[in-house]
């Protein structure tokens, strides 16, 4: 069960997310900096809320912070920026 892929874009598994929580991550940005969750093409649209609910249930926090939304909100060619 532990090797279940949670973040499809970057192939991050439940075991890696739990390891980040053991190291002190308490919100999505902290997990992301430790194992790249949410760094792929969808920027967390698919997995971010699952990770946030997982953090809340495993650390007892009420509900944990998501990563800051920034432009571009979709992958954009450099020539289009």
């Amino acid at each position: 069960m532990d090797d279940l892929i949670i973040c499809r874009c970057e192939g991050i598994r439940l075991s890696e997310i739990r390891a980040s929580l053991r190291e002190g991550a308490s919100a999505v940005p902290g997990v992301k900096k430790r194992n790249r969750v949410g760094m792929g093409y969808c920027q967390g649209r698919v997995c971010q809320r699952v990770v946030s609910e997982l953090i809340a249930s495993e650390t007892g926090a009420k509900e944990s912070l998501l990563q800051r939304a920034q432009s571009p909100v979709r992958p954009t060619l450099l020539k289009d920026i």
Binding site: I5, R8, C9, E10, G11, G40, Y41, C42, R45, V46, P75, L77
Partner: protein, 106 residues
């Protein structure tokens, strides 16, 4: 044999021309204007790309342009969402993007 998974119901968009296109060099046909991912699925093709990170086969997941799992190179432009890129006659689709350093070297 390519299994055809077209569904025929009263609600079909009328007037769509049948066109041919290629996927990784394979000659296929689909309806002009339908999303490339739909044309691929109608030809029984579910695997659209290989995940660069996990090396697993990947295909359509969200179907409306949010997850980027159905991305492929379309007519030379890499990482287009095939679930919302309309098919045209002669469109060339390929699983891996050709952005290579050689192209950058010239």
């Amino acid at each position: 044999m390519m299994t055809n998974t077209r569904l025929f119901s009263t609600n079909k968009d009328e007037g769509q021309r049948h066109v041919s296109f290629t996927f990784n060099g394979m000659e296929l046909t689909g309806y002009e204007g339908e999303p490339i991912a739909a044309a691929l699925l109608a030809n029984g093709i579910k695997t659209i790309r290989t995940c660069e990170v996990t090396k697993e086969p990947r295909g359509i997941f969200c179907g409306i342009g949010h997850c980027y799992e159905c991305r492929a190179e379309v007519d030379g432009i890499s990482n287009q969402r095939t679930c919302m890129t309309p098919l045209r006659s002669g469109t060339q689709v390929s699983s891996h993007s050709s952005w290579q350093i050689e192209e950058a070297r010239k």
